[in-house]
Amino acid sequence: MTQPASDISTTVSLGYDGHAPLFRAPEKIRTVFIVTLVAACLPLAGGILFFGYRAAWVAAIAIASCAVFERFYFRVTHTPALLGRSHAYLTGMLLALTLPPFTPWWVVVMAAAFAIIVGKAIFGGVGHFLWQPALLGRFAVAVIVPILASLGIDANLTPDQWPLLAPQHMLLGDIGDVQPMRPGEIYRGWQDHDLPEDDDGWAVPLPTQTLRPLTVATVDVEPAFSSLAAVREHIDHRKPAALTQLPPVGDMLLGARPGGIGETCAVVIVVAGLYLIYRNYVKWGLPLCFLLAAAAVAAVAPVRVDVGGERSVSWPIIAEGLDVGLAYATYQVLSGAVLLGAFFLATEMTSRPVLGGAQMLFGAGAGATAMLLKLYTTLPIPTYVAILIWNTLTPTIDMVWRPRVYGQRHVLRFRRKQH
């Protein structure tokens, strides 16, 4: 490195080296993934609590098959970016959080294969993929399973009524052993609803499905509410908004509602997400803008209202006032996978923009898109599709979003010549 020059009359530069700085921060890539994995265990624990051991089984299959697929691909191709399995575990965990608890094992394995091989490996591994791999796996099975079902293979990821364990059978119950709601029966909340003998829980409609007739005109399904006035009536009685049709807000926050394994426990997701923000693995702007944009869209997106027997379209906040509008928006944000998407899936480092401001744009766009898809389409996974759409835009956002560097002039940044 420091051999003296042969000619002693001249000065020779010995060049740079890669040593400095001599100190390095303790955070490693592995730490990032493992801590995120541990944080993701919290929503999973909530899911296991409310959906029983079958949820744990789905998660175990997802994590194990992701690790196996990644190992297999590395054995074949020796892509160096795939070395190290912590991100495969994390991908498997996030995939499990997005899947319904009653997913058959082969569907989980198929999702893991798509997530690792298509979503991650063929792009070149961590740092190179375009779409969040877990979401790509989830998207793949959401497309493929209905096709298989039409071919006669018995699998359904989007039933009309989703299982939920009763309080007496938490953690140990079997979600295969539940009774669908009878027509006309009114769901009275997780704590209060009657449990038939020999059953571990109930099968109830997803809150999203309950809310959907407000915005999507359906012919055969009776609208859940004739108008938002019904919501107003319940608030006036100081009772949760949709007592007859929706779980109470307390249930929505705790996660006692049907849904994907990790999608339901709002409080737990927020706590885990705040921990990730505290660790600086997630910048606060992205989830905040995601949630704010989703809530704002829900608050102003037109709904079908029923005024004096006449149907029309109006904004929730304008038609029904601030209180009902905000309660409605809160239900919309809490009912789908918006929270999980905001804190865990949209924040995947590789598939989100790098800069803070660009992340806020990304989050706001993904949140608004997610809510629009949720309100006006019948996609089974609107939030995930929205995040995948905005993942596609990430390289563009990165190229366009260029804050001024010290010493650059404000206006000249947009010109071709720098000086």
Partner: protein, 454 residues
Amino acid sequence: MHVMFHRYGQFAGGIDLPDENASTIDQPIGMVDSVATLRVPLAPCGTAGASPVVDVGTNVQCGERLAAAPGPGGVDIFAPAAGRVAALTTAVVRHGRDLLACPAIELTDIHGGCGMGAAREVRDWRTVSSNTIRQQLAEGQIATSRPRPEPLIRWVQRAVATACQDLIVNAMENQPYITADHRLLVEYGPQVMQGLAILALACEARQVFLAVDARRTRDYASLVEPAIQYSVNRVALPHKYPIGADPILIKVLTRREVPLGGRPTDIGAAVIDASTCLAAYRWVACGQRLTGRVVTVNGDGVARPGNVFVPFGTSCHDLLGETDAPCVLGGPMTGRQVDGDAVVSPACESVLAVTPTPHAPPSQCIRCGWCRDHCPVRLNVAMLNDMYELGDVAQAEHLGVTACVGCGVCSYVCPARLPLTDRVRRLAGTVRHHRRSMPLLSDMAPSPAAEADR
């Protein structure tokens, strides 16, 4: 009652580093143990070597001229100690984050060095004109003690040519271990202030700042009085790395930004350090040559950590003694790892024996964005890393790569352990090289033919 030190604001980005200076910060400046040989570097400023004016075998006195400057970019070399010229050899010195193998004169039979002993003022500098001061500085052949040294008179001339408004003494020293300028301010505060006044006179600066660490101000009581006498603005700044980088310091103090690829003097600010101020005072007022500097010696396994006055040409091995840790010239964030035979030059404020943090080999970037979040000049380092891997120098220039101050924060925080600082420096070096070798492209006016087409 006057305010001892004014407080200023912060800058975005940066990190908090450990101090690691408990063993040196309160110890007075000592003398280096007697060394057997000195290899005095003849090109401390990175130019061609100075041409020796003494023959091998002659005995030289302390402060005697050893070599004559090769041109306006270099300085004359003076004997840092009395001894015998043994040979012409080479020595490795630091120059920024580069290393230079430059010609050197080997002195043996060292008897009696020129210390930092009490100096008597022999010249009155307070009543003379700026021109006279500049003439004296030119005769002094002093090299600045910045990481990239240059002749002090050249620095002064540049400041004068750009009508420098602000003269800033950068005594922030917020890398771990380093306390050399701190001890200088504590023990030689009045002299440093007078040297600063001399430089202010030479530069014809309108405002003079002394920027120090906010946590150490209570130690600087002795220099407040002379600072007021010479109307020096005393500024205490928060301890956040890299506030000691020149462009960041200027930004915090004056809200002006050094243009891309430019120098601080382009925006009328000249930055110097305490060591050079003291050297200017000792030459202009006392007639003593610059023959050594105060160096922080510290690190793992160093027998006697402390700040010592070291004659130029002392090898790191002599300073550190027996230690297993690698030797580092300069601070742990911006310094350069060397073999033990590298020598002390004006560029080296510390000689450390630091074991680098062990880490795995670099892996791929996961786009966490921490490098950008902590970058003091807001460079998108992740994208620059892409440009490095793609070899896209033009795009890197478009991203403003020449704004890099080389602080090392991006490498420090990178969870993938990528050598980001190194890569950005290489990109910036390539951009500068292109600008130099193709000057027409950088500021080409629209040609008359193109105008006619339009």
